[in-house]
Protein backbone atom coordinates (compact mmCIF):
# COMPACT_ATOMS: atom_id res chain seq x y z
CA UNK A 1 0.00 0.00 0.00
CA UNK A 2 1.52 3.28 -1.09
CA UNK A 3 -1.48 5.54 -1.53
CA UNK A 4 -4.71 6.19 0.31
CA UNK A 5 -6.89 8.73 -1.50
CA UNK A 6 -9.93 10.37 0.05
CA UNK A 7 -12.71 12.17 -1.80
CA UNK A 8 -14.57 15.23 -0.55
CA UNK A 9 -18.16 16.20 -1.34
CA UNK A 10 -19.19 12.75 -2.57
CA UNK A 11 -22.37 12.54 -0.51
CA UNK A 12 -25.31 14.68 -1.69
CA UNK A 13 -25.75 16.42 1.69
CA UNK A 14 -22.01 17.25 1.88
CA UNK A 15 -22.16 18.72 -1.62
CA UNK A 16 -25.33 20.68 -0.77
CA UNK A 17 -23.71 22.13 2.36
CA UNK A 18 -20.71 23.38 0.36
CA UNK A 19 -22.66 24.40 -2.72
CA UNK A 20 -23.41 28.04 -1.78
CA UNK A 21 -19.72 28.92 -1.49
CA UNK A 22 -18.85 27.24 -4.82
CA UNK A 23 -20.18 30.21 -6.78
CA UNK A 24 -18.04 32.87 -5.09
CA UNK A 25 -14.35 33.69 -4.81
CA UNK A 26 -12.04 31.88 -4.63
CA UNK A 27 -13.98 28.99 -6.19
CA UNK A 28 -16.31 30.70 -8.70
CA UNK A 29 -17.77 27.43 -9.95
CA UNK A 30 -18.38 23.91 -8.65
CA UNK A 31 -15.55 21.40 -9.09
CA UNK A 32 -15.70 19.52 -12.37
CA UNK A 33 -13.60 16.60 -11.16
CA UNK A 34 -13.60 14.68 -7.86
CA UNK A 35 -12.05 16.72 -5.03
CA UNK A 36 -9.29 14.40 -3.81
CA UNK A 37 -6.73 14.34 -1.02
CA UNK A 38 -4.11 11.96 0.32
CA UNK A 39 -4.02 10.24 3.67
CA UNK A 40 -0.22 9.76 3.87
CA UNK A 41 1.67 6.92 5.58
CA UNK A 42 1.97 8.67 8.95
CA UNK A 43 -1.86 8.60 9.21
CA UNK A 44 -2.18 4.83 8.77
CA UNK A 45 -2.93 2.69 11.79
CA UNK A 46 -5.17 -0.18 12.76
CA UNK A 47 -7.97 -1.48 14.92
CA UNK A 48 -7.22 -0.95 18.60
CA UNK A 49 -4.59 1.74 18.11
CA UNK A 50 -4.87 4.83 20.30
CA UNK A 51 -5.15 8.14 18.43
CA UNK A 52 -3.94 11.46 19.80
CA UNK A 53 -6.14 14.54 19.62
CA UNK A 54 -3.52 17.17 18.73
CA UNK A 55 -2.51 19.66 21.40
CA UNK A 56 -4.54 22.86 21.15
CA UNK A 57 -7.46 21.11 19.44
CA UNK A 58 -10.62 20.37 21.40
CA UNK A 59 -12.25 17.84 19.10
CA UNK A 60 -11.85 15.91 15.86
CA UNK A 61 -14.29 14.94 13.12
CA UNK A 62 -14.99 11.25 12.60
CA UNK A 63 -15.21 10.25 8.95
CA UNK A 64 -16.70 6.76 9.03
CA UNK A 65 -16.23 5.45 5.52
CA UNK A 66 -15.61 2.51 3.25
CA UNK A 67 -12.09 1.87 1.92
CA UNK A 68 -11.92 0.28 -1.53
CA UNK A 69 -8.72 -1.77 -1.85
CA UNK A 70 -7.12 -2.18 -5.26
CA UNK A 71 -6.07 -5.62 -6.49
CA UNK A 72 -4.92 -5.64 -10.09
CA UNK A 73 -3.29 -2.27 -10.80
CA UNK A 74 -5.75 0.16 -12.38
CA UNK A 75 -4.56 2.48 -15.15
CA UNK A 76 -7.12 4.45 -17.15
CA UNK A 77 -9.84 1.90 -16.44
CA UNK A 78 -13.34 2.30 -17.82
CA UNK A 79 -16.20 2.49 -15.41
CA UNK A 80 -17.55 -0.79 -16.75
CA UNK A 81 -14.27 -2.58 -15.98
CA UNK A 82 -13.32 -0.83 -12.75
CA UNK A 83 -14.77 -3.37 -10.32
CA UNK A 84 -12.41 -6.03 -11.68
CA UNK A 85 -9.61 -4.05 -10.03
CA UNK A 86 -11.13 -4.18 -6.56
CA UNK A 87 -9.55 -6.76 -4.25
CA UNK A 88 -11.58 -5.95 -1.17
CA UNK A 89 -12.96 -3.47 1.31
CA UNK A 90 -12.09 -2.25 4.76
CA UNK A 91 -13.67 -0.11 7.43
CA UNK A 92 -11.90 3.25 7.67
CA UNK A 93 -12.21 6.22 9.98
CA UNK A 94 -11.04 9.24 7.98
CA UNK A 95 -10.31 11.60 10.86
CA UNK A 96 -9.91 15.34 10.43
CA UNK A 97 -9.97 18.60 12.29
CA UNK A 98 -13.25 20.49 11.96
CA UNK A 99 -13.62 23.37 9.52
CA UNK A 100 -11.45 22.20 6.67
CA UNK A 101 -11.32 24.94 4.06
CA UNK A 102 -11.89 23.97 0.45
CA UNK A 103 -9.13 25.98 -1.20
CA UNK A 104 -5.88 24.42 -0.03
CA UNK A 105 -4.88 20.77 0.44
CA UNK A 106 -5.92 19.74 3.98
CA UNK A 107 -2.51 18.74 5.30
CA UNK A 108 -2.95 20.26 8.75
CA UNK A 109 -6.53 19.02 9.00
CA UNK A 110 -6.49 15.47 7.67
CA UNK A 111 -2.86 14.31 7.76
CA UNK A 112 -2.02 14.15 11.48
CA UNK A 113 -0.39 11.00 12.82
CA UNK A 114 -2.82 8.05 13.01
CA UNK A 115 -5.69 10.02 11.45
CA UNK A 116 -6.53 7.07 9.18
CA UNK A 117 -7.24 3.93 11.22
CA UNK A 118 -8.41 1.02 9.08
CA UNK A 119 -9.73 -2.46 9.74
CA UNK A 120 -8.67 -5.68 8.03
CA UNK A 121 -9.39 -6.27 4.32
CA UNK A 122 -12.50 -8.27 3.47
CA UNK A 123 -12.31 -9.91 0.01
CA UNK A 124 -14.44 -8.23 -2.65
CA UNK A 125 -16.53 -11.35 -3.32
CA UNK A 126 -17.89 -11.19 0.23
CA UNK A 127 -19.50 -7.78 -0.45
CA UNK A 128 -22.34 -7.97 -2.95
CA UNK A 129 -22.72 -4.23 -3.60
CA UNK A 130 -20.48 -1.49 -2.12
CA UNK A 131 -23.26 0.97 -3.05
CA UNK A 132 -25.70 -0.58 -0.58
CA UNK A 133 -23.84 -0.75 2.72
CA UNK A 134 -24.91 0.66 6.07
CA UNK A 135 -22.18 2.48 8.05
CA UNK A 136 -22.65 3.02 11.79
CA UNK A 137 -20.58 4.93 14.26
CA UNK A 138 -20.75 4.99 18.04
CA UNK A 139 -18.90 7.12 20.58
CA UNK A 140 -18.57 5.57 24.05
CA UNK A 141 -21.22 3.02 23.13
CA UNK A 142 -23.80 5.62 22.05
CA UNK A 143 -24.87 5.47 18.40
CA UNK A 144 -23.97 8.78 16.75
CA UNK A 145 -24.76 8.51 13.12
CA UNK A 146 -25.72 5.98 10.56
CA UNK A 147 -25.70 6.33 6.81
CA UNK A 148 -25.87 4.17 3.74
CA UNK A 149 -23.47 4.21 0.82
CA UNK A 150 -26.34 4.92 -1.57
CA UNK A 151 -26.72 7.96 -3.79
CA UNK A 152 -23.02 8.81 -4.01
CA UNK A 153 -22.29 11.59 -6.47
CA UNK A 154 -19.65 9.28 -7.88
CA UNK A 155 -20.03 5.53 -7.38
CA UNK A 156 -17.05 3.29 -6.66
CA UNK A 157 -16.48 2.43 -10.34
CA UNK A 158 -16.87 6.08 -11.32
CA UNK A 159 -14.28 7.12 -8.73
CA UNK A 160 -11.79 4.45 -9.80
CA UNK A 161 -12.23 5.45 -13.43
CA UNK A 162 -11.83 9.18 -12.73
CA UNK A 163 -8.71 8.74 -10.58
CA UNK A 164 -6.99 6.13 -12.73
CA UNK A 165 -7.43 8.42 -15.74
CA UNK A 166 -4.39 10.33 -14.48
CA UNK A 167 -2.98 8.25 -11.59
CA UNK A 168 -2.32 4.51 -11.78
CA UNK A 169 -3.66 2.81 -8.68
CA UNK A 170 -1.39 0.00 -7.53
CA UNK A 171 -2.12 -3.23 -5.67
CA UNK A 172 -3.02 -2.41 -2.07
CA UNK A 173 -3.74 1.26 -2.72
CA UNK A 174 -7.02 2.40 -1.28
CA UNK A 175 -9.75 4.87 -2.26
CA UNK A 176 -12.16 6.17 0.40
CA UNK A 177 -15.70 6.81 -0.85
CA UNK A 178 -16.32 9.92 1.26
CA UNK A 179 -18.28 11.09 4.25
CA UNK A 180 -21.73 12.73 4.62
CA UNK A 181 -22.24 16.26 5.96
CA UNK A 182 -22.05 17.02 9.70
CA UNK A 183 -19.85 14.11 10.78
CA UNK A 184 -19.87 13.28 14.50
CA UNK A 185 -16.98 14.48 16.65
CA UNK A 186 -14.80 12.95 19.34
CA UNK A 187 -12.72 14.27 22.22
CA UNK A 188 -9.82 12.82 24.09
CA UNK A 189 -11.01 9.94 26.25
CA UNK A 190 -13.65 8.83 23.76
CA UNK A 191 -13.89 5.28 22.45
CA UNK A 192 -15.06 5.27 18.84
CA UNK A 193 -16.44 2.26 16.98
CA UNK A 194 -17.16 2.24 13.26
CA UNK A 195 -19.04 -0.72 11.80
CA UNK A 196 -20.03 -1.64 8.28
CA UNK A 197 -22.33 -4.60 7.71
CA UNK A 198 -20.42 -7.44 6.12
CA UNK A 199 -17.11 -5.56 6.17
CA UNK A 200 -16.16 -5.28 9.81
CA UNK A 201 -15.64 -3.23 12.91
CA UNK A 202 -12.98 -0.69 13.84
CA UNK A 203 -12.41 0.51 17.38
CA UNK A 204 -10.04 3.25 18.52
CA UNK A 205 -9.54 5.23 21.69
CA UNK A 206 -8.80 8.94 21.48
CA UNK A 207 -6.34 10.35 23.95
CA UNK A 208 -4.59 13.62 24.65
CA UNK A 209 -1.41 14.22 22.65
CA UNK A 210 1.58 12.92 24.54
CA UNK A 211 -0.39 10.07 26.11
CA UNK A 212 -0.03 7.51 23.30
Amino acid sequence: MKMVIGVLLNFPDAWAAAEPQMHHAPHFQPPRHPVLYFKPANTWCGDGDDIAVPAGVSEVELGATLGVVIGEPACAVRESEAMRHVAGYRVVNDIGLPETGLLRPPLAQKCRDRFCPMGPVVPADRVADPGKLRIRIAVNGRPQASHATVGLLRSVPQLLSAISEFATLDTGDMVLIGVPANPPRAHSGDKVVVEIDGVGRLENLFCAEGAT
Binding site: K2, H33, V35, N42, P105, P106, L107, F166
Partner: protein, 261 residues
Protein backbone atom coordinates in the same frame (compact mmCIF):
# COMPACT_ATOMS: atom_id res chain seq x y z
CA UNK B 1 29.22 9.59 -2.18
CA UNK B 2 26.38 10.31 -4.60
CA UNK B 3 24.28 7.22 -5.30
CA UNK B 4 21.74 6.37 -7.97
CA UNK B 5 19.45 3.45 -8.73
CA UNK B 6 19.40 2.04 -12.22
CA UNK B 7 18.09 -0.96 -14.12
CA UNK B 8 20.65 -2.81 -16.21
CA UNK B 9 20.61 -6.34 -17.55
CA UNK B 10 17.28 -7.07 -15.95
CA UNK B 11 18.23 -6.12 -12.40
CA UNK B 12 18.17 -3.05 -10.18
CA UNK B 13 21.62 -1.76 -9.21
CA UNK B 14 23.07 0.91 -6.96
CA UNK B 15 25.51 3.09 -8.83
CA UNK B 16 27.87 6.00 -8.34
CA UNK B 17 29.21 8.64 -10.75
CA UNK B 18 32.38 7.67 -12.64
CA UNK B 19 33.44 10.72 -14.61
CA UNK B 20 31.65 12.48 -17.44
CA UNK B 21 28.49 10.64 -18.51
CA UNK B 22 29.65 7.39 -16.96
CA UNK B 23 28.49 5.45 -13.94
CA UNK B 24 29.87 2.59 -11.89
CA UNK B 25 27.55 -0.18 -10.73
CA UNK B 26 28.01 -1.60 -7.25
CA UNK B 27 29.58 -4.70 -8.84
CA UNK B 28 32.24 -2.55 -10.50
CA UNK B 29 30.94 -2.42 -14.07
CA UNK B 30 31.49 0.90 -15.83
CA UNK B 31 28.65 2.01 -18.11
CA UNK B 32 27.56 5.06 -20.06
CA UNK B 33 24.76 6.81 -18.17
CA UNK B 34 22.61 6.67 -21.30
CA UNK B 35 22.76 2.86 -21.54
CA UNK B 36 20.88 2.20 -18.29
CA UNK B 37 17.33 2.92 -17.17
CA UNK B 38 17.25 5.32 -14.25
CA UNK B 39 14.90 4.98 -11.30
CA UNK B 40 14.37 7.59 -8.62
CA UNK B 41 17.51 7.36 -6.41
CA UNK B 42 15.46 6.21 -3.41
CA UNK B 43 11.94 4.92 -2.82
CA UNK B 44 9.88 7.88 -1.67
CA UNK B 45 7.49 7.51 1.23
CA UNK B 46 5.37 10.66 1.63
CA UNK B 47 6.10 13.27 -1.04
CA UNK B 48 5.53 16.82 0.19
CA UNK B 49 5.69 19.74 -2.22
CA UNK B 50 5.62 23.48 -1.77
CA UNK B 51 3.42 25.77 -3.80
CA UNK B 52 4.74 29.26 -4.41
CA UNK B 53 7.81 29.14 -2.18
CA UNK B 54 9.77 31.66 -4.24
CA UNK B 55 8.42 35.20 -4.20
CA UNK B 56 9.10 35.88 -7.88
CA UNK B 57 7.37 32.70 -9.03
CA UNK B 58 4.44 33.52 -6.75
CA UNK B 59 4.18 36.95 -8.36
CA UNK B 60 4.45 35.44 -11.82
CA UNK B 61 1.49 33.13 -11.22
CA UNK B 62 -0.66 34.90 -8.70
CA UNK B 63 -2.53 38.08 -8.51
CA UNK B 64 -2.76 40.70 -11.22
CA UNK B 65 -2.72 43.87 -9.14
CA UNK B 66 0.17 44.82 -6.91
CA UNK B 67 -2.07 45.15 -3.84
CA UNK B 68 -3.43 41.64 -4.42
CA UNK B 69 0.13 40.47 -4.80
CA UNK B 70 1.22 42.09 -1.57
CA UNK B 71 -1.67 40.55 0.34
CA UNK B 72 -1.05 37.19 -1.21
CA UNK B 73 2.63 37.19 -0.38
CA UNK B 74 1.92 38.27 3.16
CA UNK B 75 -0.38 35.28 3.63
CA UNK B 76 2.26 33.06 2.09
CA UNK B 77 4.93 34.36 4.47
CA UNK B 78 2.72 33.37 7.37
CA UNK B 79 2.28 29.71 6.49
CA UNK B 80 3.66 27.55 3.69
CA UNK B 81 1.23 26.02 1.18
CA UNK B 82 2.04 22.32 1.16
CA UNK B 83 0.48 19.61 -0.97
CA UNK B 84 1.17 15.89 -1.32
CA UNK B 85 2.09 13.93 -4.44
CA UNK B 86 1.30 10.28 -5.15
CA UNK B 87 3.86 7.49 -5.46
CA UNK B 88 2.36 6.79 -8.90
CA UNK B 89 3.79 10.04 -10.22
CA UNK B 90 7.48 9.25 -9.68
CA UNK B 91 9.86 8.63 -12.56
CA UNK B 92 13.66 8.87 -12.76
CA UNK B 93 16.36 10.58 -14.79
CA UNK B 94 16.12 10.28 -18.58
CA UNK B 95 12.41 9.44 -18.29
CA UNK B 96 9.50 10.39 -20.51
CA UNK B 97 6.43 12.30 -19.42
CA UNK B 98 3.15 12.32 -21.31
CA UNK B 99 1.69 15.66 -22.32
CA UNK B 100 -2.05 14.98 -22.39
CA UNK B 101 -3.91 16.15 -25.47
CA UNK B 102 -6.09 18.49 -23.39
CA UNK B 103 -3.11 20.33 -21.87
CA UNK B 104 -2.88 23.98 -22.90
CA UNK B 105 -0.07 25.10 -20.62
CA UNK B 106 2.20 22.44 -19.13
CA UNK B 107 5.40 23.49 -17.42
CA UNK B 108 8.38 22.05 -15.55
CA UNK B 109 9.33 23.14 -12.06
CA UNK B 110 12.98 22.73 -11.06
CA UNK B 111 13.23 22.12 -7.32
CA UNK B 112 15.65 21.14 -4.61
CA UNK B 113 14.32 17.93 -3.01
CA UNK B 114 15.17 17.21 0.61
CA UNK B 115 15.14 13.56 1.68
CA UNK B 116 14.52 12.77 5.34
CA UNK B 117 16.89 10.27 6.97
CA UNK B 118 15.93 10.28 10.63
CA UNK B 119 12.43 10.15 12.06
CA UNK B 120 11.29 13.22 13.96
CA UNK B 121 8.32 15.07 15.39
CA UNK B 122 8.45 18.71 16.49
CA UNK B 123 11.93 19.14 15.12
CA UNK B 124 13.43 22.52 15.87
CA UNK B 125 14.84 24.67 13.12
CA UNK B 126 18.30 24.66 14.64
CA UNK B 127 18.44 20.87 14.57
CA UNK B 128 16.48 20.31 11.35
CA UNK B 129 19.34 19.53 8.99
CA UNK B 130 20.44 16.66 11.26
CA UNK B 131 17.27 14.86 10.08
CA UNK B 132 18.20 15.13 6.40
CA UNK B 133 19.64 12.08 4.62
CA UNK B 134 20.43 13.95 1.45
CA UNK B 135 19.26 15.90 -1.55
CA UNK B 136 18.20 15.28 -5.10
CA UNK B 137 16.74 17.26 -8.01
CA UNK B 138 13.01 17.28 -8.68
CA UNK B 139 11.02 18.34 -11.71
CA UNK B 140 7.48 18.86 -10.44
CA UNK B 141 5.39 19.17 -13.62
CA UNK B 142 2.14 21.13 -13.65
CA UNK B 143 -0.66 21.56 -16.16
CA UNK B 144 -2.13 24.95 -15.45
CA UNK B 145 -5.42 24.54 -17.29
CA UNK B 146 -6.17 21.43 -15.16
CA UNK B 147 -6.11 23.51 -11.96
CA UNK B 148 -9.33 23.73 -9.99
CA UNK B 149 -9.63 25.89 -6.85
CA UNK B 150 -10.50 22.95 -4.61
CA UNK B 151 -7.60 21.55 -2.59
CA UNK B 152 -5.46 23.41 -5.09
CA UNK B 153 -3.12 22.34 -6.56
CA UNK B 154 -5.38 19.36 -7.15
CA UNK B 155 -4.24 15.79 -7.75
CA UNK B 156 -5.17 15.89 -11.42
CA UNK B 157 -2.51 18.61 -11.84
CA UNK B 158 0.19 17.35 -9.50
CA UNK B 159 -0.17 13.59 -9.04
CA UNK B 160 -0.23 12.48 -12.63
CA UNK B 161 1.70 9.40 -13.74
CA UNK B 162 5.15 10.62 -14.76
CA UNK B 163 4.63 14.06 -13.24
CA UNK B 164 7.34 13.87 -10.57
CA UNK B 165 10.85 13.41 -11.95
CA UNK B 166 13.48 12.65 -9.28
CA UNK B 167 17.22 12.13 -9.62
CA UNK B 168 19.72 11.32 -10.92
CA UNK B 169 21.60 11.21 -7.62
CA UNK B 170 20.93 11.17 -3.93
CA UNK B 171 23.63 13.47 -2.55
CA UNK B 172 24.41 12.79 1.13
CA UNK B 173 23.73 15.73 3.42
CA UNK B 174 27.35 15.72 4.56
CA UNK B 175 28.43 16.60 1.00
CA UNK B 176 26.08 19.59 0.88
CA UNK B 177 26.45 21.46 4.16
CA UNK B 178 24.50 24.55 3.00
CA UNK B 179 21.36 23.75 0.96
CA UNK B 180 20.34 27.42 1.06
CA UNK B 181 22.89 28.79 -1.41
CA UNK B 182 22.39 26.66 -4.52
CA UNK B 183 21.70 27.86 -8.07
CA UNK B 184 18.68 26.28 -9.78
CA UNK B 185 18.39 26.33 -13.55
CA UNK B 186 16.20 24.77 -16.20
CA UNK B 187 17.16 24.39 -19.84
CA UNK B 188 14.46 23.71 -22.42
CA UNK B 189 15.96 22.23 -25.59
CA UNK B 190 19.28 23.76 -24.57
CA UNK B 191 17.99 27.27 -23.85
CA UNK B 192 18.05 28.69 -20.34
CA UNK B 193 14.42 29.28 -19.27
CA UNK B 194 14.46 29.21 -15.49
CA UNK B 195 16.98 30.50 -13.02
CA UNK B 196 16.95 31.07 -9.27
CA UNK B 197 18.76 30.47 -6.03
CA UNK B 198 17.64 28.40 -3.06
CA UNK B 199 18.56 31.42 -0.91
CA UNK B 200 15.37 33.06 -2.22
CA UNK B 201 12.96 30.51 -0.75
CA UNK B 202 10.24 32.16 1.34
CA UNK B 203 10.36 29.22 3.76
CA UNK B 204 13.84 27.70 3.89
CA UNK B 205 14.65 24.01 4.39
CA UNK B 206 15.00 24.11 8.21
CA UNK B 207 11.72 26.07 8.48
CA UNK B 208 9.91 23.55 6.29
CA UNK B 209 11.16 20.64 8.39
CA UNK B 210 10.11 22.46 11.54
CA UNK B 211 6.66 23.28 10.11
CA UNK B 212 5.89 19.80 8.75
CA UNK B 213 7.21 17.94 11.79
CA UNK B 214 5.06 20.23 13.92
CA UNK B 215 2.03 18.73 12.19
CA UNK B 216 3.13 15.14 11.78
CA UNK B 217 5.97 12.67 12.16
CA UNK B 218 8.58 12.81 9.42
CA UNK B 219 10.16 9.46 8.56
CA UNK B 220 13.08 8.18 6.48
CA UNK B 221 12.20 8.31 2.78
CA UNK B 222 9.84 11.26 3.17
CA UNK B 223 10.85 13.93 0.68
CA UNK B 224 10.13 17.65 0.52
CA UNK B 225 10.08 19.35 -2.88
CA UNK B 226 10.89 22.88 -1.84
CA UNK B 227 9.23 24.90 -4.61
CA UNK B 228 10.37 26.46 -7.83
CA UNK B 229 11.69 29.89 -8.87
CA UNK B 230 10.22 32.06 -11.63
CA UNK B 231 10.44 31.09 -15.30
CA UNK B 232 7.55 28.90 -16.41
CA UNK B 233 7.44 28.12 -20.13
CA UNK B 234 5.02 25.78 -21.92
CA UNK B 235 6.57 22.48 -22.99
CA UNK B 236 5.46 20.37 -25.93
CA UNK B 237 5.96 16.82 -27.14
CA UNK B 238 9.64 16.33 -27.92
CA UNK B 239 10.79 19.03 -25.50
CA UNK B 240 13.93 18.07 -23.60
CA UNK B 241 13.90 19.53 -20.10
CA UNK B 242 17.06 19.58 -17.97
CA UNK B 243 16.67 20.74 -14.39
CA UNK B 244 19.93 21.43 -12.57
CA UNK B 245 20.59 22.14 -8.93
CA UNK B 246 24.14 23.22 -8.30
CA UNK B 247 26.15 20.48 -6.61
CA UNK B 248 23.20 18.06 -6.67
CA UNK B 249 22.77 17.07 -10.30
CA UNK B 250 21.21 17.57 -13.71
CA UNK B 251 17.93 15.80 -14.34
CA UNK B 252 16.75 15.11 -17.90
CA UNK B 253 13.16 14.44 -18.89
CA UNK B 254 11.58 14.36 -22.33
CA UNK B 255 7.96 15.21 -23.11
CA UNK B 256 6.04 12.81 -25.32
CA UNK B 257 2.75 13.25 -27.10
CA UNK B 258 -0.45 11.71 -25.83
CA UNK B 259 -0.55 8.04 -26.73
CA UNK B 260 -4.10 7.61 -25.52
CA UNK B 261 -6.89 7.57 -28.05
Amino acid sequence: MKTGRVVHGGAIHRCTPAGADRIRLADGRLLAEAEVQWLAPFEPRTIFALALNYAQHASELAAKSSSDQAGFLQAQMHQPIVFLKGANSVVGHRSFTRRPAEAEFMHYECELAVVIGHEGRRIRRANALAHVAGYTVANDYAIRNFLEPYFRPNLRVKSRDGGTVLGPWLVPAAELPDPMALQLTTHLDGALVQQGCSADMIHDVPSLIEYLSGLMTLSPGDVILTGTPAGSVDVTAGSEVVCTVQGVGSLLNTLVSDWRA
